[in-house]
């Protein structure tokens, strides 16, 4: 029996050869593009006599920053402005993530409420605020609401301790004195011990069915222990009160209007998206689950907490992660109202003063990329833990 002759494929029709050719062409194009841009950039920077390299990070910045979590003076370096901005970005993102999650879960659950009014209000909230640009909402809170507050001299005051004006909310701030360190250590130890005991108690309950008063223990360890130590050390804490000096307040702690406007807008805007995610997650849990739970005699709150939410979380977590990432990236809109975040301080003032666009933009983008990858790594880990374990 004759084997039919193997058909000879012309080389330009062979899928493998074609794949190689395409990939080599694509690679060549990318390399050509990168080198062209690189040499263009070098040439352009030389002509405009822009310096290169990261030496500028050690030079004195010479500009003030409105608000900083770490000590910062005008005489500090550009490198330090980077960290000031980074910490401020992380502060507002962290605050926003917590409150947006709370608001989003409340609104998402409320949209499914049996109370018609509650469901409609949640729906109206979602439909209005997710269709308005975030920048516009930030402007609204900052220029229309917070800038309409009285000046520091006529501020709304509460017992001469809390002052609300267009310069922000001034409150008494605790000042730690020697001995406070021990109380902090006790607090941290209490939290760690609670976590360990909680894990042990859950394991024991799963094995033996015996309960453990975990809430009382946690209360004692996290609050009681530091409190006892605090009293024993002779209350090593004093308060710094805000006082009006000249045109503004001195002393105390301050919640800046820039921070508040940004925080509000981020919370309300991202909350709408989280609400939609929560709603679709809950609707993805089949109705039989709720009915089965009710048949077991669980109360309505227990059904939501013990049966529906744990299953809904599986659907909720992945899109929730991308909302957290969006919130972090959106916090860069701070620059529009002058909250000193990374983009405002570093990609704004520092870039303008040094002119080293390539290095500054690369560093800033690098930070956001790293933050994005870090948050998605953490959330992916959590997602793996709650994912359905199938055989």
């Amino acid at each position: 029996m004759n084997q039919p002759p193997k058909p000879r494929i012309k080389p330009w029709n062979d899928p493998r050869i074609r794949a190689w050719v395409f990939q080599i062409l694509a690679m060549a194009f990318v390399i050509w593009l990168a080198t062209t841009l690189f040499f263009n950039t070098l040439e352009n920077m030389e002509r405009r006599s822009i310096q290169t390299g990261f030496a500028f990070l050690d030079r004195t910045a010479g500009f003030g920053i409105l608000f900083s979590l770490i000590p910062y003076e005008e005489t500090d370096t550009y490198g330090r402005t980077f960290f000031v901005g980074l910490l401020n970005t992380m502060l507002v993102s962290g605050l926003g993530i917590v409150t947006a999650t709370l608001l989003g879960f409340v609104a998402g659950i409320a949209r499914l409420s049996s109370n018609w009014l509650v469901a409609r209000i949640a729906e109206v909230y979602v439909e209005i605020f997710r269709n308005i640009p975030l920048l516009l909402q930030i402007f609204f809170w900052y220029f229309a609401v917070l800038q309409a507050l009285p000046s520091p001299r006529e501020s709304i005051r509460f017992h001469d301790m809390v002052f609300l004006s267009k310069r922000g909310l001034y409150v008494p701030a605790p000042v730690a004195e020697p001995g406070m360190g021990w109380v902090t250590i006790a607090f941290v130890l209490g939290v760690v011990a609670t976590l360990l005991i909680g894990r042990w108690a859950r394991k024991r309950r799963e094995e033996t069915g015996q309960g453990f008063p975990i809430w009382r223990t946690a209360l004692g360890l996290v609050i009681g222990l530091p409190l006892v130590l605090f009293v024993l050390m002779g209350a090593p804490l004093s308060w710094s009160l805000p006082a009006l000096k000249g045109f503004n307040f001195v002393g105390g702690g301050v919640l800046l209007p820039e921070l508040v406007a940004l925080w509000f807008a981020l919370t309300i805007y991202t909350g709408t998206f989280i609400a939609e995610i929560v709603r679709s997650g809950i609707q993805a849990v089949s109705h039989g689950q709720t009915e089965a739970a009710a048949a077991l005699g669980l109360k309505r709150g227990q059904v939501t907490r013990l049966v529906v939410l744990p299953q809904a979380l599986r659907v909720i977590i992945p899109p929730l992660t991308s909302q957290y990432l969006n919130l972090t990236k959106n916090s860069s809109l701070a620059t529009a109202i002058g909250y000193p975040d990374l983009v405002n301080v570093f990609m704004g003032t520092t870039l303008n003063q040094t002119g080293q666009a390539v290095e500054v933009v690369a560093m800033t983008m690098g930070v956001y990329l790293t933050l994005s990858l870090a948050i998605s790594a953490v959330m992916n880990g959590y997602n793996r833990r709650v994912a359905l374990k199938e055989r």
């Binding site: 794949a19 395409f22 990939q23 694509a26 690679m27 990318v30 841009l37 263009n40 950039t41 040439e43 352009n44 920077m45 002509r47 049996s114 109370n115 018609w116 009014l117 509650v118 209000i121 439909e127 209005i128 997710r130 269709n131 308005i132 640009p133 975030l134 920048l135 516009l136 909402q137 402007f139 609204f140 220029f143 229309a144 609401v145 800038q147 309409a148 990432l325 990236k329 959106n330 860069s332 809109l333 620059t335 529009a336 983009v343 990609m347 870039l351 666009a357 390539v358 933009v361 800033t364 983008m365 956001y368 990329l369 994005s372 990858l373």
Partner: protein
């Protein structure tokens, strides 16, 4: 002898389960907690909405052109009428406004034709509009040919700029996104790697930094002599950014199409491009219409960010009016008006996408 069975007429529903009273009881006052909640919300609504309506409508000023007219504390909506031309056209030269109107009319007409159901010949209209609209926009808005004097792009502003940026962004981001999504699922390693890196980098950074990059770094990248205007640079930044998001949406749709579809297409003798273009892509795109429209809505809202790099979009024109000395104390009214403008666009887009989704639903989704 036949005895037909005649059932008794069914009883009416119990009087307690029909009518407005029953509805109220079931939806608002079932149980003490819900009743309290309802009353609390009603009180809250009354105490916020009534003063708001009083301020905005009853005591509001609608007629007139003089900012001094509204000093009694009511809302001042006069600026809308006085400044409307500025909000729509921005700094575009007065004598050339008809050119903007032509472009806006063409945009509305083509979007309307594409969106309306049952218009014949859509397979020619859609590509025609996608290719023709940008050319038409550039020819008319920029001018400098056919006897129309040139209008530099830095005079493009107001709602016109917002619409130009978002329409160009939408038209460009979808095809680039489709190519990137296909690349990310390609079997060729180099192509897959390049597309993945491209997508993840743009998705990992905020749009602001992309716009800063486009406005500060792009001039450094280009050879001397080749310089883009600021509007064009912002456009490039927006397209790069949104196409990465679009790619992920399209990839989601591609993943939902079972392998059997492309295997069946291959068995019929279709090559890669025809498999994708005729079999896989139509199904995938249909599945992700909500995602695509959501990306469009996000893009439309994101165009407001160009005001940070100094372009004058519709939000910037309204903001400029608010901070001008001519119109004191209209911050709230101004932002509410801006919010209403954006809301109308975004809400209608999202409603249209829901209608389209229902129309195209051919039972892929299990319920």
């Amino acid at each position: 002898m036949s005895e037909t069975f005649v059932p008794l007429p069914s009883l009416p529903p119990p009087s307690g389960s029909v009518g407005a009273g029953a509805w109220l009881r079931a939806r608002l006052f079932n149980g003490p907690v819900n009743s309290l909640l309802t009353l609390a919300i009603l009180w809250l609504l009354a105490s916020t909405l009534i003063p708001l309506l009083d301020w905005g409508l009853i005591r509001g000023h609608f007629v007139g052109r003089d900012p001094q007219a509204c000093r009694d504390g009511g809302a001042c909506w006069l600026f809308v009428g006085v400044r409307l031309k500025f909000f729509v056209y921005g700094f575009y030269p007065e004598a050339e406004l008809w050119r903007v109107n032509v472009v806006l009319f063409a945009a509305v007409a083509s979007i309307g034709t594409i969106a309306a159901p049952g218009v014949p010949g859509k397979r020619w209209i859609i590509p025609g509009a996608v290719v023709g609209m940008p050319i038409l926009t550039f020819v008319f808005m920029h001018g400098g040919m056919f006897g129309m004097p040139e209008v530099a792009t830095d005079q493009w502003s107001g709602l016109t700029l917002t619409l130009v940026l978002s329409i160009v962004g939408i038209v460009a981001a979808l095809p680039i996104g489709i190519v990137l999504a296909l690349g990310r699922r390609s079997k060729m390693m180099v192509i897959r790697l390049l597309c993945t890196v491209f997508i993840e980098v743009w998705r990992g950074v905020p749009l602001i930094s992309v716009l800063f990059m486009a406005s500060v770094m792009l001039p450094l990248f280009l050879p001397e002599g080749l310089q883009f205007s600021k509007v064009l640079r912002a456009m490039i930044g927006i397209v790069l950014f949104e196409s990465a998001y679009m790619a992920e949406v399209v990839r989601g749709g591609l993943q939902a199409i079972p392998r059997g579809q492309s295997e069946a297409a291959a068995a019929l003798g279709l090559g890669y491009w025809r498999t994708m273009g005729l079999v896989v892509m139509p199904q995938a795109l249909k599945l992700v219409i909500p995602g695509i429209v959501n990306t469009f809505i996000a893009l439309f809202k994101d165009t407001t960010l160009v005001l940070i790099i100094g372009l004058f979009d519709v939000l910037a024109t309204i903001h400029a009016t608010i901070v001008s000395a001519e119109w004191p104390n209209i911050a709230t009214e101004g932002y509410l008006f801006a919010a209403a403008v954006f809301w109308v666009f975004c809400f209608s887009m999202s409603r249209y996408s829901q209608a389209l989704e229902r129309k195209l639903n051919t039972g892929h989704k299990r319920n």
